[in-house]
Amino acid sequence: MSFLESQVYIIIFSALFLGGVMSTFVISMVFIHRQRQAQNRQKLDQVKSEHEKTLLDIENEIQQETLTLIGRELHDNIGQLLSLAKLNFGSIRPEKQAEGRDILGQAIQEVRGLSKQLNLDWVESLSINEFIGQQLERIQNTGFCETTLDADFELVDLPKDQKLVLIRVIQESLNNAIKHASPNKILIRMHDSGKGKQIWIKDDGKGFDSSQKSNGSGMINLKKRMETIGGEFELTSTVGNGTEITLTLPN
């Protein structure tokens, strides 16, 4: 083979080689893309199933909480009303009997109210503002502490999953304040900050050092739950200065 022919072959093979390298590059990119796409899909499915599981857990917890409340109401309120009615009906005095009928009517109203809470349909008909109002009223009625709700907006049209998570997180935050902080006052503010709509829960209770890592999973759970709906959970507390929780709602 002459020198000239060799040079020609080198040129041809170099062109073929470069073409081959490029083809390999593009084909491998497509394969890597397919692989990553499958991994991504798997990850998305996992996130979706975790989200569904969280929602299911939340529904169960809300139902559990509701059943506890109904049990307490049946024992402390309706049971008392029925006993009182029974006593009044036992009397031969007509005014006592009329009083018994009134008490019975009141008991029926209470039972109707409770029966509505047995399924989760109330979640859809209730706004977050109404829910917070009811929770704070219940706390105040027990005489445990003073409560205030200050809202700049009404949260009505939230998707059911977001509403369930918010309800549960608010419920749990209030339960924690009552159980662990012994506050004199609980204040909830709903306002629109630069970051978006926020719910701010503040108590003036014992507080704790929030900079220290806690062993409990309660706060981590609440944070994770807010994140599953695209929101944020922030907690700041210092010993003796109460606790502040900020829930940032998803946009």
Binding site: I12, V30, H33, Q37
Partner: protein
Amino acid sequence: MDSRFVQAFFISYGEFLIPLDLFFIIGVACFIKLPKETRADIHYWLPFLILVFTAFYENMGAYTNYNYEFKASVNAYLGNTEYPKFNLWLNNITKRGIGVILYLFLIKSWLEPSKKKYINWMIYIFIVVVVIIQYSGIEPLYFNQPIIFTFGANIILIGSGLYFIGMITHEQYLASNPLRLLSFWQMTFIMFTFTLTYISSVAKFYLYEVNPVLGESLFQIEWIMQLINLGILTLTVASPLMPGIFEKEPSYEFS
């Protein structure tokens, strides 16, 4: 029609110029039909601009072969009296200069915002390098410019590489099928064009002198690749008129 005109436009490079002009006509017709807001979108007007620009300089090249006097006078103006038949000055200004910058802008339009700055830097460096090499006399404008071509081709290959990296890492690209993305085909053929024409472009003179037949065959590859590229660009311009064939480009949603 003058025989030199027929020779320049239809016989010498007819198999290349006729399909190129057809793509140009189809591209113009489709672009006119696009809604106003689509025409204002860089993903449509930039491919159209490259198509129009390519049609312009390739036809201009044919015209310089028809009008020898014009070609010779430009060569003489640039200081080239040795080879008055050359029209490499046109190739160097358009294809290897402005063309490379336009292709870099096209690559940039498909990249995620964080990677666009790399292309900006590549464009600045390319302009500086071209100016230095040209004005220092290392590669005169009227002669073959292998260094400038090598540099331009390499930055285009790096830019295309950035697109492919985005394709396998960016979540929006991972949600789509690349084989149904026009950007994927654009990048693939730009890469192939600059790779397969690398040797023929760099060794242009050597091939003409040593083995013109091989040189001619390698240049055929260059023309075919350029036609495929223009075909993809025409398809890009026409894609809004053919809904359902291609997927929505993920880069449209980059914020």
